[in-house]
Symmetry: C2
Subunit: 396 residues, 2 copies
């Protein structure tokens, strides 16, 4: 099964919007084992859109057209597809009602332009799930198919997940349920991970299911994605659970979470479960740690506060600098835990990239130092993740 | 003049990397008045790369191939272009020396693979500016041309700016110097700006030079880009300066800076010039303001510190909440200025999105409230920009 993506919109060619939709779709197709050899961006121009969609349909089994389904005169994806199918557009009154209802529920009136969004090529069908005011289109052409989805990312994603991916799977004769789980890791390099997992990857290569993939994600660590194919949900879930356990045993505590979990959510959950509160001192990190923590713990129930100032480790040298700052934060907010990541004093002559991590946990004090790469911005972000990971390991 | 971009790399199709290069190139081409009708992504596959590049060359005057110039076996852009040109690859020993020198200066040894990066199709030339270990390629084919640049964004950009854009300009018979300046604005909508500038846009449409473009940039405000064409640098600079002045008069103090200036750099510069220091209280914004300020003022010479805590406006209601928090920050760090953006107390029953801004400047106190859109994350970022913009206006 081959599928191409055609992203539609002059604003994409002009660089006013970066086309993240095609990338996301590409990732999904790869996970479902569907080949995708070309992705094209084209402007809101009838002839050029027709050319791109015909060419894609010619060399693939399925084409996903993304964008150009809005209410304005520029939005002509419907028209181009009808032309390629050799049919007329037919207004779908049920869709008109749906759109009207959406506007009314937001206290606004539907314009005549919005009615155009209910025009469907004869022989095509609206994609059932419709999160916005633009229906997606399912357009079978012989034994091939064009899917059209809006350019609004969340609308596109919901239509892909609820309809298009399952439909392509059906068309490709796959009956398998495909599910994935991502193990999030921090503290080893991609080559280090590859070495630890080499034997397992070899085994899985010969078994064929599940499969593993590495995704390096910079300051978010390295992700290991497990993809399982199975005949039913239950078996897929079992395969994922058993592979997750196997990999956790191999990798140890560099696995900090799965799927949507982040270092912040994991640390905050762990503190919450243990009934502890947290304060941080941010001389180096200057608010980066706080903004990440407060974005999750919005009512500041666990994360009680931060002191941001250049001065709170002035008297200390070496790893004591981190502890002095952590103590200061803990005392200021009267919390159970104080945390800090600080730079060496210039007089220490420490190696470039050295950062001292200090944690005060109840009446215990912990410290370590790390050597971090990158410019100032990356250094700050790496320092935040490093000290949160340090805390995570102490709490587990 | 028409130019197409072909982005090369299987990782782009698999969604492991988002193709921001094509977007940036598209923006530059538009600014230089070069039409770009298609952009294509293709994997590291000889036949498919050949197909895409030939097709692009067929329908355009110039093709920019981005990626596939690295040292590994996957990197075959050189080979494909040589094949299309009908020539052999020739190793350029001067480039080999350059690459060896780069490795030596970083204390590393050049591998044999890196020598491959010095292979140039016969009849092509390396692009003179070479910021990394991969030379760009200038490959004339009849009266058309293929440019090949590395996928590393800063290497690509430097080659575009120093060689490719000027060369395309020369080819298109343009002798004009094209320069742009961006006015950064905060505090008006795109339609509001368009209304204020409507007469000027009409005038410029008939004059043809300079041109104006709007770029909505979310929490970074709206940019107004002025692009001037002229015969020499001096005249271009004059046109930009005079248009900037004209637009500043029209728009007033919603213009907060130009080009690379951000709200933070402008506010910090203004405080520094006036010899003032700043502290902030972040209950709502939770570190976002601090991280932006400390990213610029790295030694915390102007931005002295922040108090991040849920509690520092507890007793106050209404706009006094903002002032109470701002006073607290100013007193904690003994600064000239204290700043805060806080949410209403739930008991006030204020409208969703209401944020109180408080600023204490010496012995003067200022307050206002704003109604901000968006989810929590956007609200926090908008609140930061709003209060910094409030301070900017007070300081000017």
């Amino acid at each position: 099964m081959r599928c191409e993506v055609v992203a539609i919109g002059s604003e994409l060619l002009l660089g006013q919007i970066v086309d993240t939709n095609s990338s996301w779709i590409g990732e999904q197709l790869a996970m479902f084992g569907i080949d995708s050899h070309f992705q094209t961006k084209v402007g809101d121009n009838f002839e050029r859109m027709e050319f791109c969609i015909r060419q894609a349909l010619d060399r693939s089994d399925a084409v996903i057209c993304c964008g150009g389904l809005g209410p304005t005169q520029d939005d002509i994806t419907r028209d181009v597809i009808a032309h390629i199918m050799g049919v007329e557009l037919v207004r779908d009154e049920a869709i008109v009602d749906k759109i009207r209802h959406m506007f009314e529920s937001r206290g606004r009136r539907m314009t005549d332009n919005n009615r155009r969004q209910a025009d469907i090529p004869a022989g095509a069908e609206p994609i059932p799930h419709m999160p916005g005011t633009a229906p997606g289109l399912y357009c079978p052409i012989g034994d091939k198919v064009i899917y059209a989805v809006p350019g609004v990312p969340y609308e596109m994603r919901e239509m892909m997940e609820t309809f298009i991916l399952p439909d392509m799977q059906r068309r490709s004769g796959q009956t398998a349920v495909i599910r994935s789980r991502t193990l999030r890791t921090w503290g080893d390099s991609e080559s280090g991970l590859a070495e630890k997992l080499a034997d397992r990857i070899d085994q899985l290569d010969s078994i064929g299911n599940p499969t593993l993939a590495f995704l390096a994600s910079g300051i978010e660590g390295i992700k290991v994605r497990v993809t399982a194919k199975s005949e039913d949900e239950e078996t897929a879930a079992q395969i994922l659970a058993s592979e997750e356990q196997f990999l956790r045993n191999l990798l140890g505590d560099i696995v900090f979470g799965i799927d949507e979990e982040t270092m912040e959510t994991v640390v905050l959950d762990s503190l919450r479960r243990q009934g502890m509160t947290l304060a941080v001192a941010e001389s180096l990190t200057g608010g980066v740690m706080s903004s990440r923590l407060s974005d999750i713990d919005r009512n500041m129930e666990v994360f009680k506060g931060a002191v941001i100032s250049a001065g709170h480790a002035e008297a200390a040298v070496g790893e004591d600098r981190g502890l002095a700052a952590a103590r200061h934060a803990k005392e200021t907010y009267g919390t159970d835990v104080g945390v800090a990541a600080v730079l060496p004093d210039p007089s220490e002559g420490a190696r470039r990239g050295t950062v001292y991590l200090g944690i005060v946990l109840g009446n215990q004090e912990y410290t370590e130092h790390v050597a971090l790469p990158g410019d100032r911005n990356r250094l700050r972000n790496y320092a935040v993740i490093s000290v949160m990971n340090f805390l995570r390991r102490l709490l587990s």
